[in-house]
């Protein structure tokens, strides 16, 4: 009886998956910076905000760090925000480049994690 009614677990407060911003530095931040899928191999979904800030006004572009695909560009700005729906089976990296010289000025990534790692082909769950 004791175990039936009192076997409770405290759910720890999950850390907010955001990178700390330093007030005076150039930043590129993805919030959340982690996406958790239930099983390894599944696509993970999250509504992500990628924001950037630079000390100098200029022309900047956000791109995928692996494919180098340009996602969005800003002209004569010192900050920007890009919202999108994360949908991936692997970690995705972003780079902010100065479009005048092509140099990377900041980078970040959205890490993919999963809960269950055993992808049994023959999984037998018993419900009752």
């Amino acid at each position: 009886m004791f175990f039936k009614y009192y076997f409770l677990f405290a759910l720890p407060i999950a850390p907010v998956n955001a990178q700390e911003q330093t007030a005076d530095s150039n930043t590129l931040v993805a919030i959340p910076d982690t996406c958790v899928a239930l099983r390894e191999g599944r696509n993970c979904y999250a509504d992500v905000e990628v924001s950037w800030r630079q000390q100098q006004i200029g022309n900047y572009c956000l791109r995928n760090s692996d494919s180098k695909h340009i996602i969005q560009c800003w002209l004569m700005q010192h900050k920007g925000l890009f919202r999108y729906e994360f949908d991936s089976t692997e970690t995705v990296g972003f780079e902010l480049i100065n479009s005048d010289n092509g140099k990377i000025v900041a980078s970040t990534e959205i890490q993919l994690q999963w809960v269950y790692k055993n992808r049994q082909k023959k999984r037998r769950w018993r419900l009752f």
Partner: protein, 279 residues
């Protein structure tokens, strides 16, 4: 004392199932299966509510249950113990043939939860008046073959199992169709199944023997029986270690079960919500 508590805890975790047992078989065939040795395990707790089919039990019974799960696979062997989804049980398996989306396995599992005059929960200590005097029905362990066919996210399986524990010495046949539907980070699983139980099985669990019979509990010798099962389950990852679980199970029983003097109705429902920590 501490050792006794640990043993009691393990016992409760394994035998705290509380309703008609049934075994389910799901597979997400869109995933590349793990190779070699792979395992997951976790613990948690859940709140359940059920409408039990045993006489004398409250039509609305609820409470908290512990949850332990373990999934291990190595080459063609696999072991699953999962109690989170409204009850638990140990399943062992070995894949004999796995080709062209067809599979043939040797499986061993518990099919039916035991019960006694205190009801379905062995850790309950109050005798239920309507069940007083019945002998204990033990948990069985059945071994047999399963033939299965995989589709992209669904699965159909047929099993023939026979009790090897000496509990009822009968057979059980299960057929089950299941489907996994991922939606965003949720996983929804649903299934329907039809099971047949031998007269030995049915008589052991639901029959009334001469020593058990009394004025309001006549002798009862049932024949082969059947059950129809529907279930739904959902899981959602809260973070890398915590998972939210919820599920629903409905079972309908054939006449040979529900006409038993210790069975109050021809159906049983159970729902559960819980949290699990996966290591």
């Amino acid at each position: 004392m501490r050792a006794c508590s640990a043993l009691l805890f393990i016992y409760l975790c394994i035998f705290s199932t509380s309703s008609q047992a049934s075994n389910r078989y799901y597979a997400d065939n869109t995933l590349e299966p793990s190779q070699g040795f792979a395992w997951d395990w976790g613990i948690g707790a859940g709140y359940y509510a059920e409408d039990s089919y045993l006489v004398g039990m409250d039509s609305y019974n609820d409470g908290f249950e512990p949850d332990i799960h373990l999934a291990v696979s190595y080459e063609k062997f696999y072991l699953d113990y999962d109690q989170s989804q409204l009850s638990g049980g140990l399943s062992l398996g070995y894949s004999i043939i796995d080709k062209f989306e067809w599979g043939l396995d040797i499986v061993g599992t518990n099919v039916q939860s035991g019960f006694d005059e205190t009801g379905l929960t062995f850790y309950g200590d109050d005798v239920i008046a309507e069940l007083e005097g019945i002998k204990r029905r033990n948990y069985d362990f059945d071994v047999g073959l399963r033939l299965s066919r995989r589709f992209e996210n669904s699965h159909i399986s047929f099993e023939y199992l026979h009790d090897v524990s000496g509990t009822h010495n009968g057979w059980v046949m299960n057929s089950f169709f299941s489907q996994i539907i991922p939606w965003r980070n949720w996983e929804f699983r649903s299934g329907v199944g039809l099971s047949a139980y031998s007269s030995d099985f049915t008589n052991y669990y639901f029959g009334i023997s001469q020593p058990e019979s009394r004025a309001d509990r006549p002798l009862y010798i049932p024949d082969t029986s059947y059950s129809l099962i529907f279930e739904f389950h959902a899981e959602y990852p809260l973070n890398q270690h915590w998972v939210f679980l919820t599920g629903w199970l409905s079972t309908w029983f054939s006449n040979d079960i529900h006409q038993s003097p210790i069975i109050s109705q021809e159906y049983q429902h159970k729902a559960k919500v819980g949290l699990r920590y996966v290591f």
